[in-house]
């Protein structure tokens, strides 16, 4: 199983490991709950080097990405980022991505580890007809570290040369991190303020330890999952897959339909945008301490009306939260549904996402 360049460091810190997207990743170091809380109240550090870094460059890079993705990448200013989807011709979601514009003719696309090869293959195939475009998978050259939490800026600032307070949300800048040149991105997947730090793989151990020495607490993927769930953020393979279209997933706003140029999936998405999506993604909350978890079935009486895609007892809120696909008729805010939790029914209520929003 592939490992990130930091695997030995995780083991040294006493991490337990799990298979995530085909990678052997740290699931926790000490306690899921303590790590979750560290991100909500202090600053946490995640090794997310399993994620893919794909560089798209050349004079036609912007128009190529306009064609390959559902967003209008040519409209992204240099140094800015945008959340994106790559869809197939039927409008099904191949992956969700972050697109950073590094220069007029250069973009960085971050894809999920488990979809790395699908995304690279789709981009390369779509590049064939798009003139002078280079699509380069440089995932193995880089380590990606996420520093997240209310103290992320203050703690990370102690080892970087750029003034982080000048880097707005969804921006990227070159910087020197503990003496090593890399990129600083103000993005994340936890619902907190924070940064993602892209550094050469060969310097990752040094920088990982410098971040820990700066007082940032290493956190595993278990905490990352409950954090992103509370923040209502989708996880590919759970809320998103090839059979789901953006309108079902509540991501219709990401798809930029009102433009002249064609893009992959455009006609299918245009048609889907005019119909009522069904089933649709909702947020659910319940009472008590028993979690509705992924794949549990949802009922209205004896009729099955949906399925949980992610769920946990929310560490921050103290009650069960879940994301689920349900029949459209039961998707209105305030609708009551029943979840079958291993033979017992739990009443849950449809609520607006996210479950948790940080106070600014």
């Amino acid at each position: 199983m592939p490992q990130t360049p930091l695997h030995a460091e995780h083991a040294r810190l006493g991490a337990s490991f799990t298979d995530f997207g085909g990678w052997d990743m740290p699931v926790r170091y000490t306690s899921d709950l303590a790590e979750h809380e560290a991100v909500r109240t202090k600053a946490g550090l995640f090794d997310i080097s399993h994620m893919a870094e794909i560089f798209v460059s050349g004079p036609q890079a912007a128009s190529f990405l306009d064609y390959a993705l559902v967003i209008q990448s040519s409209a992204i200013a240099i140094g800015k980022a945008k959340y994106a989807l790559i869809c197939n011709a039927q409008g099904g979601i191949i992956d969700d991505l972050i697109v950073y514009r590094l220069a007029d003719d250069e973009f960085l696309v971050i894809a999920n580890a488990g979809n790395r090869h699908e995304v690279v293959a789709a981009l390369k195939e779509r590049a064939i007809f798009q003139g002078f475009v280079g699509v380069e998978d440089r995932s193995d050259d880089f380590a990606l570290l996420a520093v997240q939490g209310p103290e992320a800026t203050e703690k990370l600032q102690t080892i970087v040369d750029v003034d982080l307070s000048t880097l707005p949300y969804y921006s990227i800048d070159k910087g020197v991190i503990d003496g090593v040149a890399g990129y600083l991105c103000r993005t994340g997947y936890t619902g907190e303020d924070g940064f993602e730090v892209l550094v050469p793989a060969e310097n990752s151990v040094q920088i990982f330890n410098a971040l820990i020495n700066a007082g940032i607490i290493p956190c595993g993927l278990a905490a990352r999952d409950t954090l992103r769930l509370e923040a209502g953020m989708p996880l590919y393979g759970h809320e998103l897959n090839l059979k789901i279209n953006p309108y079902q997933a509540g991501l219709g706003r990401v798809v930029k339909l009102d433009r002249d140029a064609d893009f992959v999936g455009k006609s299918a998405l245009q048609s889907l945008s005019t119909k009522e999506a069904n089933p649709v993604l909702v947020g659910l909350t319940g009472e008590g301490k028993r979690a509705a978890r992924a794949e549990y079935k949802i009922f209205n009486g004896e009729t099955e009306i949906g399925e949980i895609t992610s769920g946990a007892l929310s560490p921050t809120l103290g009650y069960p939260v879940a994301m689920a696909y349900v029949e459209r008729n039961f998707s209105a805010i305030g609708s009551k549904v029943e979840v079958d939790i291993r033979g017992n029914r739990l009443e849950m209520t449809v609520v607006k996402l996210p479950f948790y929003k940080r106070s600014k």
């Binding site: 337990s16 699931v27 926790r28 306690s31 899921d32 709950l33 303590a34 979750h36 278990a222 999952d225 409950t226 301490k289 028993r290 979690a291 978890r293 946990a312 007892l313 560490p315 291993r342």
Partner: protein, 124 residues
Amino acid sequence: MSNPTNLQYTKEHEWVSVEGDVATIGITAYAAEKLGDVVFVDLPKIGSQTTYMKICGEIESTKSVGELYAPLDGEVVETNSDVVDAPETVNSDPFGAGWLIKVRFSSLPELMSAAEYDALTGEA
């Protein structure tokens, strides 16, 4: 973490402490560690019957659900209400304050020794 030698064990990671005709039952440190932070325990009712290697309760962590297998046939005479109120005790003191149920039994099945359980979980 070492497994106390005065306890007996099951392959499903329960420990059993026998005193007279009552067995105190919990899950091992190894099981608690594998589960992660325990946030909810569902224990059998007092007076209910347990059957050897049948599920009689559930232990939920943030990430997963673990099942509590009855290590012996008997009748539940006590459940640990402190653990119901503070499930994290299962992680902090699995072999002590984190005990789960007490069962009155008439005969004991063959259980594993600490050394056998160490071998099962790959501990020296």
